[in-house]
């Protein structure tokens, strides 16, 4: 009996917590009468895809999606190219200055991004890359999150593997490309997922860096709906759902890596 009550309470809590997501989906499938109704309609009377069609045809959702893809994809590749070598070096190469570099990068993690938005804006204005996708993505490459994931992984790899290669006369670079990179796939996957999601969700900097609506990323575009299409709630919800597709897919496939990666790097929104 006590167990049943407990289960009912748990179920209730879960239902309340999932409700907003349910509401997001349901609203996006409603027609206008259902949305602007005075009574509660938990399900659409006539499920329709008209809001999705409207989002794609009457707004710039498609170019925004493309922009977000280009930005997130480029950031992810850039992060892997930049962070794999330094992550490996900090973990495995006993070189002078390693500690200093590590602490410098660590300390930089504490800098809230908000502190550098003004100088970055003026710097990029000077370079003439405001209002371009390059301007949106470049600051993301300087964020050291991936380094921590990669460094931590390589610290756990047995030294024997590397030493065998050195004895065979392989250079540091060959060892890295032929042995350590293939070995580091797990860390790479986690870094890829975390970087992609973070870049996709990025809001403050794209909001500042881009002024032409055609160059918005999807997060900025959706945020602007509030002002420009304020009362088309069903269409906005359809747009918000479209904007979340990559996260849903990533979450479904890589749940474990996402949870681990986020817990490990301790990044909070």
């Amino acid at each position: 009996m006590k167990k049943n009550i407990c289960n009912i309470l748990i179920l209730l809590a879960l239902l309340i917590w999932i409700f907003p997501l349910f509401w997001l989906v349901v609203t996006s499938l409603k027609n206008e009468q259902d949305v602007m109704s005075d009574t509660i309609r938990l399900l659409p009377s006539n499920p329709t895809l008209v809001n999705y069609i409207k989002a794609f045809s009457s707004t710039e959702v498609f170019p925004w999606l493309m922009n977000s893809f280009i930005v997130s994809f480029t950031v992810t590749i850039g992060v892997i190219v930049l962070d794999m070598p330094i992550g490996y070096a900090l973990a495995r190469i006993p070189f002078k200055g390693r500690k200093v570099i590590f602490w410098l990068v660590m300390a930089a993690m504490m800098i809230p991004f908000q502190v550098i938005i003004i100088p970055l804006y003026m710097q990029f204005n000077q370079y003439g890359i405001l209002n371009t996708l390059a301007g949106v993505l470049l600051p993301r490459l300087a964020m050291p999150i991936g380094i921590f994931i990669i460094k931590q992984f390589y610290e756990g790899v047995p030294a024997a593997l590397e030493e065998a290669a050195f004895i065979d006369g392989a250079s540091r670079f060959t060892t890295f490309t032929h042995i350590m990179i293939p070995l580091g796939k797990a860390a790479m996957v986690t870094t890829i997922i975390i970087s992609f999601i973070n870049a996709w969700n990025d809001f403050l900097w794209p909001l500042i860096a881009v002024s032409d609506s055609i160059k918005y990323t999807i997060t900025v575009g959706i945020a602007n709906f509030q002002g420009t299409r304020g009362t088309e709630y069903a269409m906005i919800m359809a747009g918000a759902l479209i904007a979340s597709i990559p996260q849903f897919i990533f979450y479904a496939v890589f749940r474990k890596q996402i949870v681990q990666g986020l817990a490990m790097t301790g990044i909070k929104g």
């Binding site: 997501l21 997001l24 908000q114 502190v115």
Partner: protein, 289 residues
């Protein structure tokens, strides 16, 4: 280690690509921002030296104080709620309940979504005339509330949204902490006849203290940086009642183009966060991890 040791050269070379980007887009802007904060500077006209003028003006600016106060209020109210809910979620997720797997997904999923999606979704839920929350209130005979358009409930609406968005993150940290507690301890207290509530208060809570401290600090730092929810849901309104520090920095910088003033404010925020981070470093250094 290797004959003809080239570790130092290799090490630097491996680090260099990142360090260049890092210097260009993080270190330089950080120093440049500090420089800007001593000038009167909009993008169009030439800069003018002001010395500490921006900082002095800041401490006389009533809006700055109210933004700081709103940020503090947000931190003070949301942090305990987020910790308690995160902990309760973790208890469920690490329990033997039939729902533990489903619960983990349900609680964590909101966290991976973008803040603009979260903000627009909750703005719709809180909408005065057609929002589902007011429809429920009307169903039970209450009067509709202007969740985002009235001064008092607006901050609460933002807090509720934030709790829904990020409590799952704290749950993950707490779950990791709880899973590390040895099952023998639980067996022992069970034999001693402790009930569930007693076990939670006298065993689980004290043993996850390091996690609690970690959560607390990460949470406070994250909350000081709050922006997206406010920008999307209220734009700082109504009547500036939800204007937080970053919102005010944004307004000064990009609505009024007072770059110097805005930078000075960003540095005050930075100073606050740095102190919090140092406390974090200190506390985490003492605890055994």
């Amino acid at each position: 280690m290797i004959p003809g040791n080239s570790d130092t050269k290799d090490g630097i070379l491996f680090c260099l690509p990142f360090l260049i980007v890092f210097a260009l887009f993080l270190i330089f802007p950080m120093l440049f921002g500090f420089f800007i904060s001593f000038f009167d500077w909009d993008i169009l006209s030439t800069r003018q030296w002001k010395g500490l003028g921006n900082y002095i003006k800041l401490f006389k600016d009533a809006t700055f104080y109210s933004s700081l106060w709103h940020t503090l209020l947000f931190v003070l109210i949301s942090t305990p709620i987020l910790l308690v809910i995160g902990f309760l979620m973790a208890l469920l997720v690490t329990s033997k309940s039939a729902f533990h797997g489903a619960a983990e997904n349900v609680f964590f999923l909101p966290y991976v979504l973008s803040i603009t999606v979260i903000g627009t979704l909750w703005a719709w839920i809180f909408q005065k005339n057609y929002g589902i929350l007011n429809q429920f209130i009307k169903l039970f005979g209450g009067k509709p509330v202007g969740w985002l358009t009235e001064t008092y409930p607006a901050m609460w609406s933002i807090i509720i949204t934030t709790v829904w968005w990020t409590a799952g993150f704290n749950m993950i940290l707490f779950s990791a902490g709880i899973k590390q507690i040895s099952s023998e301890i639980y067996d022992a207290v069970k034999i001693d006849g402790a009930n569930y509530i007693q076990t939670v208060f006298h065993v689980t809570l004290p043993l996850v203290k390091p996690t609690t401290v970690l959560c607390l600090i990460l949470q406070v730092i994250a909350s000081f940086n709050i922006f997206g929810q406010v920008y999307v849901m209220t734009g700082g309104g109504p009547h500036g009642s939800t204007r937080v520090l970053v919102q005010y920095i944004y307004e000064n910088g990009f609505n009024y183009f007072k770059m110097g003033y805005s930078s000075a404010m960003a540095y005050v925020l930075f100073f606050i966060i740095m102190i919090l981070s140092l406390i974090q470093y200190k506390v985490l250094g003492q605890e055994d991890y």
